[in-house]
């Protein structure tokens, strides 16, 4: 955060985004004073930290809107977009990944994993542009972009507006995730405990459900957490392609207008979100897998002994 704070201020002067050709030096100086960017950086930083401690993200330089309120408003778009894309990508990835692992020795199993490799390698905005070209401009079945001005008052319209962006992100994120699911499944399928379970007379499905899933889900959780963060980032990019007024738009416009409080606010929020997701994933893993809990307490015992 500190680095970001300094870099933003070294790279540009927000005053230049506000003035136009013809402004005098005195006017430029007055505008800088009004924004507070004429003060030394350390002083600006201290007052920013002071603000943060009172849960205030400050006011936008350009439009004077409260950055915190603005982030909350933008989450109306970005949060559903992220969650829906994530849910859809899991829905795609789990069966595809599992199938690709299960049938890994057949040609179609290989084809499945090849397609998922390919899907994960395509830039998300490119998928978006392709889908717009075909489904919006060509077939006119979905809007090419935009979000209802009434937000979620009409959930149907809002969902309709999000359909293409969600599909776009889910294709890319889902392909990525499918590869993880595939390798996790391959891992499980080769495990001794599964063979042992089969040997006790359990069917393949029962054995997989009782032992495999529980074991496989633990590493998957941390991947899912990372994937959720990636989906969030993907959402931020795709908002641009689909002209959605979410956090990504706020960030990009903020950078363009040198609106430091907005840029800092969005990045601070995103960083916090990623940290929280990581934390939740950790807790979940420990709840599911007793070994992780043991290792933790084991460490403590070792420390106590030392």
């Amino acid at each position: 955060m500190t680095i970001l704070f300094v870099v933003l201020r070294v790279l540009g002067n927000p005053v230049f985004a506000l003035i136009s050709v013809g402004a005098t030096d005195a006017e430029i100086a007055a505008a800088a004073a009004r924004l507070g960017v004429d003060r030394p950086i350390w002083e600006q930083f201290l007052s920013y930290v002071g603000q943060l401690l009172s849960f205030d993200l400050g006011q936008s330089f350009t439009n004077h809107l409260n950055v915190g309120d603005e982030i909350v408003r933008r989450l109306n778009v970005t949060l559903p977009l992220t969650m829906l894309s994530f849910a859809l990508s899991v829905l795609i990835a789990v069966p595809v990944g599992f199938f690709a692992a299960w049938k890994s020795r057949t040609w179609y199993g290989t084809a499945f994993s090849a397609v998922s490799q390919l899907g994960g390698a395509i830039p998300v905005f490119w998928v978006g542009i392709l889908l717009v070209a075909v489904l919006s401009l060509g077939w006119r079945v979905f809007p090419a972009g935009g979000f209802p001005r009434t937000d979620w008052d009409d959930p149907g319209a809002a969902l309709y507006a999000l359909t293409l962006p969600v599909i776009t992100i889910a294709i890319v994120a889902g392909s990525d995730l499918a590869r993880y699911v595939r390798s996790a499944t391959l891992d499980i399928l080769g495990q001794q405990y599964l063979r042992a379970a089969r040997a006790t007379g359990q069917s393949f499905a029962t054995a997989l459900w009782r032992h495999g899933v529980r074991n496989g889900v633990v590493p998957l959780i941390s991947i899912l957490a990372i994937q959720l963060s990636t989906t969030f980032v993907g959402a931020v990019i795709i908002e641009r392609v689909f002209a959605l007024p979410g956090l990504g738009d706020m960030l990009l416009v903020g950078i363009k207008e040198q609106d430091f409080p907005s840029v800092q606010g969005v990045l601070l929020f995103s960083t916090a979100l990623v940290l929280v997701l990581g934390f939740i994933a950790d807790v979940l893993q420990r709840l599911i897998d007793p070994r992780l809990r043991d290792s933790l307490s084991g460490n403590r015992r070792v420390k106590a002994a030392a």
């Binding site: 002067n13 985004a17 136009s20 050709v21 013809g22 439009n63 401009l137 002209a243």
Partner: protein
């Protein structure tokens, strides 16, 4: 796989697509309004634009976006500048000017703000003082610095005293909003006297204007307007193609025009005031030499450039003045395209072997394309151009503020900005005492004829001196769906009056 089998594999998706197309066709056919072609007075017009205001207050930001959405629509000035660049009274019902040209007394129209508060002389005093006040960084503040004092005579009469006569005073007032003196913070709200009131402001998305039912003037021809903003030009074009917006205020990419034209859209071409120019730092060698500047000018095939950038639309100009201004002279051939002449001029100036210079090129818009073109053109006469791409920010610091450059590209958007050549401290440093005198005298002129004559003289002189290389005048291109009428053509300085727009 044989070709026949391949066909079979492809046939199914193709048929599915065809079926979907038919479905989609039916769907859009059903939803389209009656084909009567009669304009619908209640229709809401959706305007697509890339020019989102940074905030809603004209004194806190030089963004032309706020002019586009608010001036004349939500806020009104004492005067209105028409689409043909004429000045006509708006909130100033009557104007009296003292004999010495220093005191303007305005009688106000019987208008009220959206909040219901009536328009009074206090509001005008507040608005004018706010515009030229210390806090203001309004784009046109300097032009109104001639205001010495504003005095309230009575509720509906206000007297403005100037420090010196200013013949453009009423014209310049056309850009100044009269705001309610009790409105408070105007960066996110608005209270004007215009035909529309601000209904909704969604930063990063849209601004919705609703019809002001109590408007003091003639009612608008539509049922309200929405400005829908797009950061990405492709997203904007897609919105127009899919019917999400009815028109776009400015099309900056001529490549897509053919697609719109063939799809039945109207291409509306007006004249703009945006001049693409190669600014030369005339303080330093070799650009302090007129011959060198003229040589550069003559070495560039501007016709070819205009074709390449704007597909032949737009205009060639030979000076800072576009045809929409009273003191326009046809100077397009004053410094003709003639590489031989260019070589001759360079040799006369002592640069027979050419020279090298750096052009600071903003990374926005078409500048880098233009820079590449200049580089290849000037190479033909032995002049080497080094292109230095910078951000708009750096431009303001390095070129505009520090004046630390040799040459630069810039699009100058304002109307009547020939005055920049009367200021030797301006970034390009053009310093001609005659031009300064003429421009200063023109502002103090007592008649428009006198003013016109003086500025025309300055106009001729800067062109003769090749003070800058004026490459071309941008066209003003708007695209509208079929059935949309009443769209302003020229849009001087981003003015965009929406009250006449209708759609069928």
């Amino acid at each position: 796989m044989t070709s026949r089998r391949l066909t079979r594999y492809l046939a199914a998706p193709a048929m599915a697509s065809a079926a979907l197309l038919v479905l989609a066709g039916c769907a859009s056919g059903d939803s389209s309004p009656s084909g009567s072609g009669e304009p619908d007075a209640a229709a809401e017009i959706v305007i697509g634009s890339q020019n989102e205001p940074t905030n809603l207050d004209q004194i806190f930001g030089g963004s032309s976006g706020v002019t586009e959405v608010f001036t004349g629509n939500v806020y009104e000035g004492l005067f209105r500048i028409t689409d043909d660049a004429e000045v006509e009274p708006l909130l100033a019902d009557e104007t009296e000017v003292s004999d010495d040209g220093l005191v303007y007394t305005f009688t106000l129209a019987d208008a009220a703000f959206h909040s219901g508060d009536p328009l009074t002389a206090d509001d005008v005093k507040y608005s004018l003082e706010r515009f030229v006040g210390e806090e203001s960084i309004a784009a046109r503040k300097n032009q109104l610095k001639v205001i010495d004092s504003v005095e309230v005579v009575d509720d509906s009469t206000v007297a403005v005293t100037l420090t010196q006569p200013s013949i453009s005073f009423t014209y310049n007032l056309g850009y100044v909003w009269i705001v309610n003196d009790e409105a408070g913070e105007l960066t996110t709200t608005a209270d004007g006297t215009g035909p529309y009131a601000l209904a909704d402001y969604r930063k990063g998305d849209s601004i919705t204007l609703e019809v002001n039912d109590d408007y003091w003037g003639e009612a608008p021809a539509n049922g309200g307007v929405v400005y829908q903003y797009y950061a990405d030009p492709t997203a904007l074009n897609n919105a127009l193609l899919t019917g999400a917006v009815d028109l776009v205020t400015s099309q900056s990419n001529p490549d897509s025009l053919a697609e719109f034209e063939s799809a039945g859209f109207q291409i509306i071409e007006g004249t703009s005031t945006t001049k693409e120019l190669l600014g030369l730092n005339t303080r330093i060698a070799p650009f302090d030499d007129v011959a060198v500047r003229k040589a550069l000018y003559s070495a560039i095939d501007r016709e070819k450039l205009l074709d390449a950038i704007w597909d032949g639309r737009g205009e060639l100009i030979g000076s800072m003045v576009p045809p929409s201004e009273p003191w326009y002279l046809d100077l397009a051939d004053n410094n003709p395209y003639d590489p031989q002449l260019a070589e001759q001029l360079l040799a006369d100036a002592g640069y027979a072997d050419g020279f090298t210079f750096t052009v600071d090129t903003p990374d926005s818009g078409v500048h880098s394309t233009v820079a590449e073109f200049l580089k290849s053109e000037l190479a033909k006469v032995g002049v080497t151009v080094e292109i230095n791409i910078i951000t708009d920010d750096e431009w303001y610091q390095k070129v505009y503020t520090d004046k630390n450059f040799e040459a630069t590209l810039q699009g100058h958007v304002n109307d009547r900005d020939i005055n920049f050549y009367g200021n030797p401290d301006f970034y390009w440093g053009y310093d001609n005492a005659d031009v300064q005198t003429w421009l200063a005298e023109s502002e103090a002129a007592s008649t428009v004829e006198e003013q016109t004559e003086l500025i025309a003289k300055a106009n001729q002189q800067i062109s003769d001196d090749a003070a800058s290389v004026w490459l071309y005048l941008n066209p003003q291109l708007r695209i509208a769906a079929e059935g949309v009428t009443g769209v302003p053509e020229n849009g001087l300085n981003s003015l965009f009056y929406v009250y006449d727009i209708t759609k069928a």
